[in-house]
């Protein structure tokens, strides 16, 4: 694998549910270290695209290459081992587990103890492994500022905190590529600012390549390196945030004139 090859390459991917064409001939690639956003109206196929990459759906046509390797037909748990992690749009935490255990599940594929060595805890090194991973998890807990709730049961937390725990769990996978499905949906301004900071830190300090679906155009334009726009399952634009903003198709399909003028104002302020 050469360094020149993109981290993720999506070639001619189409996805069909019965008569509905969720995705039609999508092509894009994401370079290592990029912060890549996917935007588009509701039902445009953004989450379907992410599901194809993470392995929930398998496309009817086309190929997905990750680190130069064809992953199109791999199970989600196999892709996770290769270094693809994700969060969900609608929360998907393990609601009856503590926050700590939720994040420890993220270490699953990095741990080696099994039901037998785990049962013999003290004799087989399972304890040592658990504690090593606990340390790594505590770093993530520190980073996302959730140390006050580490013993709380995930299902009892507020929405904003659950979103953060879910991000922590995805980070615990130690992925090369992290897929964030609307990380800021339903948050107030302050929480959004925090989340945006976490995403940037993940990208710059933790060295993770990020693909993010987000509706908040202010955030998308501010932090993304590149933006792809989907509409009715088709890609209508792909490029730098400013370029995409000026694109005629995008304005009519998604932003509408009002939102477009908002974006102009954002640009002026910046």
């Amino acid at each position: 694998m050469s360094d020149a090859a993109p981290l993720l390459e999506v070639n001619d991917v189409s996805l069909v549910f019965g008569g509905v064409r969720a995705l039609t001939d999508i092509n894009f690639s994401v370079e290592r270290g990029e912060l890549f956003s996917i935007i588009g109206p509701n039902g445009a196929g953004k989450t379907s695209m992410l599901n194809c990459v993470s392995g929930r759906y398998s496309p009817n046509q086309g190929r997905i290459l990750f680190q130069g390797r064809d992953v199109t037909r791999l199970r989600p748990n196999q892709r996770c081992q290769l270094g693809i992690g994700r969060t969900f749009q609608n929360l998907a935490l393990f609601n009856h587990m503590t926050v700590l255990d939720n994040i420890m599940v993220g270490r699953h594929h990095l741990m080696r103890n099994n039901f037998f060595t785990g049962s013999l805890y003290w004799l087989t090194g399972a304890q040592r492994e658990e504690l090593d991973h606990r340390r790594a998890v505590e770093d993530i807990i520190d980073f996302l500022e959730i140390s006050h709730i580490r013993k709380a049961v995930a299902g009892t937390l507020s929405y904003g905190l659950r979103k953060r725990v879910e991000l922590a769990r995805a980070v615990a996978l130690k992925p090369d590529l992290i897929l964030l499905d609307e990380p800021m949906a339903g948050m107030n301004l302050e929480e959004k600012e925090d989340m945006a900071r976490y995403v940037i830190d993940l990208n710059e300090e933790w060295g993770m390549t990020v693909i993010m679906i987000e509706h908040d155009m202010g955030v998308v334009m501010d932090i993304s390196h590149r933006v792809m726009v989907l509409d009715f399952g088709k890609k209508i634009a792909d490029g730098l945030p400013e370029e995409v903003m000026r694109n005629e198709h995008v304005r009519t399909a998604y932003l509408g004139e009002e939102a477009a003028s908002d974006a102009d104002r954002n640009e002026r302020v910046a």
Binding site: N95, V105, H108, L120, A152
Partner: protein, 353 residues
């Protein structure tokens, strides 16, 4: 905040090791150790009746913990647990009788054999869930019952098979007093294994599969593997429990392992608390003692109200049914949860939280 674990005053943890112990506080650990010591002395003071009850709680408790790993932790229903329990009983007797392997070894071997059978039955579980899985396990219950009746080489068919009593280093453990220690040993070991399993990687994977299987898969957990593994481990516990049962009674016959016992196992797990190691033991204790308490209660009242004593059998059955219904309504999280509440009450008094 609701989720905060309440801790005793003066309880400071300064290492992750201290934060991952089985027992939350040194106090609770000492209580558990003290309990084991008290039990070690039990055969010296208790009469045969009470010892018999304790031994029953022991072997049913091991099987109930197995079912709790499957139903409570992995979230998969099973209506065939009694069949695995019975398979363990026959298997241990068979291994001992046909190969002359000592009973102390044939018990774990029977556990392994039951694991294999459980994993075969668990294969459909990789594909089906909920009510459909309930029916699939029900089928396995009847298939195994039929197998017990027909496979004379293995079970002795309708006449049943003899299970020798256990002997250690030429020392017969056949009496209740001595057998009690064998059962206690297995209970302690199996519950320690269970508690360890559930605080490490694969235990978390089970709970993850139960709580949200789609995101569990994204977290790198192979769903099919863990669903089948859960059946295997659950059957292992059932097999060990069954083997202990067989060697205790000295005789194993197919009639004891019907669907009724399967339902009783489910009752133990639900009353004790789904998803709690301790709950399996609490629920079993409850289910074993309830009929006895009812009998003695009816015996006492029977003196005052003649005619009641003929109805003891019915009253026992109804009491068990009623207990399950009352638990489902008032304490769906089981005795383990109630126990936690009681502990929290003591720690926090006079505040409510």
């Amino acid at each position: 905040m609701a989720g905060h674990a309440t801790m005793r005053c003066g309880e400071f943890r300064t290492s992750y090791r201290a934060d991952t112990t089985i027992f939350p506080t040194p106090m609770s650990r000492n209580f558990a150790l003290g309990g084991v010591v008290v039990l070690l002395l039990a055969p010296l003071v208790l009469n045969a009746y009470y010892l018999n009850l304790l031994i029953q709680i022991g072997y049913y408790g091991i099987a109930a913990l197995g079912l709790n790993i499957l139903v409570g932790f992995t979230g998969q229903i099973s209506l065939g647990h009694a069949a695995f329990f019975g398979f363990g009983a026959f298997a241990s007797a068979w291994i001992n009788n046909s190969f002359g392997i000592p009973v102390i070894l044939s018990i774990p071997l029977a556990g392994l054999l039951t694991t294999a059978v459980g994993m075969i039955v668990g294969v459909p579980a990789g594909r089906i869930k909920g009510l459909y899985l309930a029916i699939a396990t029900l089928a396995s219950q009847f298939i195994l019952e039929d197998f017990f009746a027909r496979a004379e080489w293995f079970t002795g068919g309708s006449s049943g098979s003899l299970a020798n009593s256990i002997s250690l280093f030429g020392y017969q453990m056949g009496t209740d007093q001595r057998y009690f220690y064998v059962v206690l040993f297995f209970v302690v070991v199996m519950f320690l294994f269970g508690a360890n399993l559930l605080r490490t990687r694969d235990g978390r994977a089970f709970v993850a599969v139960r709580d949200h299987y789609l995101s569990a898969e994204i977290m790198g957990i192979n769903l099919t593997k863990y669903r089948i593994l859960s059946f295997g481990i659950s059957s292992f516990y059932a097999g060990i429990g069954g083997a202990l049962y067989g060697h205790y009674l000295g005789f194993v016959s197919a009639e004891g392992f019907t669907i009724l016992l399967s339902i009783q196992f489910l009752g133990m797990v639900i009353i004790g608390g789904l998803g709690s190691v301790m709950g399996a033991l609490l629920g079993t204790t409850f289910m074993v003692l309830l009929p006895e308490v009812m009998t003695s209660l009816v015996g006492t009242v029977g003196d005052l109200l003649p005619g009641l004593s003929q109805g003891v059998a019915y009253i026992k059955q109804m009491a068990i049914g009623l207990a399950i219904i009352l638990f489902l309504i008032f304490e769906p999280d089981g005795l383990a949860h109630r126990w936690k509440m009681i502990k929290a009450y003591w720690k926090l008094y006079p505040f409510s939280y």
